[in-house]
């Protein structure tokens, strides 16, 4: 039973599942990270706007971040050699990613918990820089797994702490940062009302071609180096989708713009993963050391067990996460944001009634 060339079936299915979680993470947390960057002076004009931006992602960002956790954990379960080789190989980028993830998460929850300028400014900065670093290093990590590391026969990186640093890694980092910013502009245009909605859409029209450029470079680079028929088809769909997104943005069709952006990222990432297949992490030293779906995967028993769990878990996940977006579907404006108060001040006010 070999449906995918010479690659075994179950590991291939799990390559698709791992790719699904990574693509879900990029597509969903992508706009959270972009909003985190837009909260800086680049886009937000005042504190009310910063809070408005934050609250567009408030109810959903945590659920979006779990896509990353599950992408990592499903790599561990299904491809231990890939997980071990990649994560130890890009040790320093992941340290920065983790620190940034910590700061971003805590910033979202703690930023409004004290109403002084220093506190709010400090956590806003943590949010801006944290979001930027997460996007950059996750983008770099995915570019590295697509283009390879100097792996020895054991699957360990050689050449020191910075041997992961390469032009593709930097392009990958910029690709996710650029995409996150324009994706967030499309999201903000869809989720807000008032002046900020118009401003986001206009900024999107201006920035879209620049923002997606590094990602398009990455997509095309992968097609040149290791295309397959499927990956070429996916890359063509993604390029068409991004042009369509731009046309919709110019026509002020916010829902369709955002949907086209989603199609763009899903098929763009898909084209990269498909071009990588059947490798999961090539070795730049010797093709014999390449990690592939066949030699990096867990046993058929484990993959079968995980498949049963995924068949149940993934559809249910999609249902309740969709429900969250439905519950919080209403557009927000600066008028939706209640006044900020400090807990200590509330304790000094007279009782109500």
């Amino acid at each position: 039973m070999e449906f995918f060339g010479s690659a075994p079936t179950l590991p291939t299915v799990w390559f698709v599942v791992v790719g699904f979680f990574w693509i879900g993470y990029i597509a969903l947390d992508g706009f959270d990270l972009g909003v985190g960057m837009l909260m800086s002076g680049l886009f937000a004009r005042n504190e009310k706007e910063r809070r408005l931006l934050l609250n567009t992602i408030g109810p959903v960002w945590d659920g979006n971040e779990v896509w990353l956790v599950t992408a990592g954990a499903s790599m561990f379960a299904a491809f231990p050699m890939w997980y071990a080789g990649l994560f130890s190989g890009i040790y320093l980028p992941l340290v920065f990613t983790l620190l940034a993830l910590i700061f971003r998460a805590v910033a979202i929850e703690y930023r409004g918990k004290k109403n002084t300028e220093r506190w709010v400014k400090g956590w806003t900065l943590a949010m801006n820089i944290g979001s930027f670093l997460i996007a950059f290093f996750i983008g770099a990590a995915l570019a590295i797994t697509a283009t390879g590391l100097p792996l020895n026969a054991n699957g360990d990186r050689v050449g020191g702490a910075f041997s992961w640093l390469s032009l593709p890694a930097i392009i990958g980092g910029l690709a996710f940062v650029g995409f996150a910013i324009v994706h967030a502009l499309a999201f903000v245009a869809l989720k807000t009302d008032g002046e900020i909605r118009v401003r986001a859409r206009k900024a999107l029209v201006r920035l879209l071609p620049v923002g997606v450029l590094p990602l398009l470079v990455a997509i095309i680079y992968m097609q040149i180096t290791s295309a397959s028929v499927l990956s070429l088809v996916a890359s063509v769909i993604s390029v068409v989708a991004v042009v369509v997104a731009w046309v919709f943005a110019r026509a002020a069709r916010e829902g369709k713009t955002f949907a086209s952006m989603m199609v763009f990222i899903i098929f763009g990432m898909l084209s990269i993963f498909l071009a990588l297949f059947p490798n999961v992490l090539p070795s730049t030293l010797d093709a014999a050391n390449n990690l592939t779906v066949a030699n990096a995967s867990s046993s058929p028993y484990t993959l079968g067990l995980m498949s049963v769990v995924a068949c149940f878990g993934i559809p249910v996940l999609l249902i309740y996460q969709s429900w969250t977006y439905w519950v919080f579907r209403k557009r927000l404006s600066v008028h939706s944001i209640p006044e900020a108060h400090d807990a200590a001040d509330l304790a000094t006010l007279p009782n109500a009634r």
């Binding site: 609250n55 408030g58 109810p59 960002w61 945590d62 659920g63 779990v66 956790v69 599950t70 954990a73 499903s74 561990f76 379960a77 299904a78 491809f79 231990p80 071990a84 080789g85 994560f87 130890s88 040790y91 320093l92 340290v95 983790l98 620190l99 910590i102 998460a105 805590v106 979202i108 703690y110 930023r111 409004g112 918990k113 360990d156 702490a161 867990s298 046993s299 028993y301 484990t302 067990l305 995980m306 769990v309 878990g313 996940l317 309740y320 996460q321 969250t324 919080f328 008028h335 939706s336 209640p338 807990a343 200590a344 509330l346 304790a347 000094t348 006010l349 007279p350 009782n351 109500a352």
Partner: protein, 525 residues
């Protein structure tokens, strides 16, 4: 620089830190679910206040657990790649299931609960929190299944030098996990109990110290109304009930932990006899349990250990439910281990400079001995405080807490006791597993084991790990200060900090332009 030692310190620090947030999330979450369901059922203002206030503290802590949990998920691959390769087939599955079946539910539904107060029907809203908290308990189950496999590997066969899962049922119903899961969850429940007791006691004391509540001539409390800061008569009920519920919750936690701990000790004596011996600093076979030992158990030398106070028969009771069966000591265990698992590490490059070294099967006794005692001493002290609280708040009493400042300070400090017990327990069980990262199953294939010395990432340098150790520790330190600061701030401010409608807020009644209150979010960051 030795990458192994640095990586071990990093794993220890990040895991202990993570596990200071986690038990509070698990325990307090369940308590807030109870408050919220009571509110939905009774629609009483008091339960709403309790839901909102304790819910706010829950969230301040929750996010730190989430943020530091990411490090846990990633660092196996980053710093322990050989470990990840060796165990991935069996260890990765529970982690992936945790993400897919539990953590996703928790994170999604917590967002619905935080922002859903005015968007969802109260019943649905409360069920969102119930879903999130149940998911966090399921998370604990999956994580402990993974951990228990390291303590007691089951359900696998060796294929090409690696354990491969052959029996998922055995892995997911590992008896080590089936007692460790309730032990951990009861431990978390006790943390929540002390958290409620300490804070509610302080708030009741403050009401007395500020002259809001007084004690009349009949020796009964006269509940007052401060007129500001939401400190009305209902506010008293919030703290009084939180205090008593906290004490009951703490007692459930303590006795649950003690009972499951007893079961764990009995398994441990079969599965990891050396860990039990090291916990006891028990050099020779015997039946007595030592309360204190003189000289230095950390000397790792049996001639140096002298028990001062011993309770005859107690150790046998802990291990075998009788008072006479000998529990094996270190001196008789050591040759058994050496015979079964070798005297020297193999001459394999994967052990680096440790290749061929003699293996010491005795964990750091100082850590296991005092970790074991620290765990039940701290838990026991907290247990006494719950009985004291129930006695102080009994029907015939004053009906509030005494106006004694040091006692209130002690109540706050006492919150730390069950945290300490949790940390001590985990440090004991993880350090007690050494020198193995995957301890061999005495009834299984002796090849299914892994020495910690072989687990670290071969390609990662000591300098890289040292950098991350310093960076993570520094960031964790700063964030601990931020969390404690916010918790203290919200405790001091009381219920209105989580429920602004309790006070006359200048912003409560502002309608700007044509926007009604309906458009304003009930909660916003």
């Amino acid at each position: 620089m030795d990458p192994l030692e640095i990586a071990r310190w990093q794993f220890g620090i990040t895991t202990v830190y993570h596990f200071m947030m986690v038990p509070l999330t698990l325990g307090l979450g369940a308590v807030v679910v109870f408050f919220n369901l009571m509110y939905v059922k009774t629609r009483s203002d008091q339960w709403k206040r309790m839901t909102k206030f304790w819910g706010k503290l829950y969230l301040i802590n929750f996010i730190m657990g989430v943020a530091t949990g990411l490090v846990q998920e990633f660092q196996f691959g980053m710093a322990w790649s050989e470990y990840s390769r060796f165990v991935g087939d069996v260890f990765g599955a529970p982690l992936a299931m945790e993400g897919l079946l539990a953590f996703f539910v928790e994170s999604t539904f917590i967002g619905l609960w935080i922002f859903g107060w005015d968007k969802l029907k109260p019943k649905i809203h409360a069920l969102c929190l119930l879903g999130a908290v149940c998911a966090s308990w399921f998370s604990a189950y999956f994580i402990i299944v993974a951990n228990s496999w390291m303590q007691h590997p089951v359900g696998v066969e060796m294929v090409d030098g690696r354990p491969v899962m052959t029996d998922a049922w055995a892995v997911f119903t590992n008896n080590t996990a089936l007692v460790a899961v309730p032990h951990t969850l009861f431990g978390a429940v006790q943390v929540a109990g002390s958290f409620l007791v300490g804070i509610a006691w302080y708030k009741l004391y403050k009401r007395r110290a500020d002259g809001v509540d007084t004690v009349g001539e009949n020796g009964k409390v006269i509940v007052g109304d401060a007129g500001v800061g939401g400190r009305d008569r209902a506010d008293f009920k919030v703290w009084f009930n939180s205090l008593r519920i906290g004490a009951v919750v703490g007692l459930i936690g303590f006795f649950g932990t003690a009972f499951t701990g007893h079961m764990q000790a009995q398994l441990m004596i079969q599965q990891q006899p050396m860990k039990m011996a090291a916990a006891e600093a028990a050099c020779h076979d015997g039946t007595a349990f030592s309360l204190f030992s003189i000289s230095n158990p950390g000397a790792q030398n049996c001639d140096d250990v002298q028990a001062v106070v011993e309770i005859p028969g107690l150790l046998s009771f802990l291990a075998h439910d009788n008072f006479t069966t000998d529990v094996p000591g270190i001196v008789s265990l050591m040759p058994q281990y050496q015979e079964q698992y070798g005297t020297h590490l193999p001459d394999d490059p994967m052990y680096g400079e440790r290749a061929g070294q003699e293996i010491n099967y005795l964990p750091l006794m100082e850590v296991t001995y005092y970790g074991f005692r620290g765990m039940f001493t701290l838990g026991g002290i907290a247990m006494l405080s719950y009985f004291y609280v129930l006695w102080v708040t009994r029907k015939k009493g004053q009906g509030t807490v005494p106006e004694i400042k040091w006692l209130s300070n002690l109540a706050i400090v006492g919150i730390l006791a069950p945290f300490g017990a949790n940390v001590a327990g985990w440090v004991f069980t993880e350090m007690g597993r050494q020198p193995f990262v995957v301890a061999p199953n005495p009834d299984g294939n002796p090849a299914i084991k892994m020495f910690t010395a072989a687990a670290v990432s071969p390609g990662v340098s000591g300098g890289e790990i040292l950098f991350s150790l310093i960076a993570l520790t520094a960031v964790y330190g700063v964030l601990m200060v931020a969390e404690l600061y916010l918790l203290a701030k919200y405790v001091k401010a009381g219920v209105p900090a989580a429920m602004a409608e309790l006070v006359e807020n200048p912003h409560n009644h502002t309608h700007d332009e044509d926007h009604t209150d309906r458009d304003v979010l009930a909660f916003a960051y």
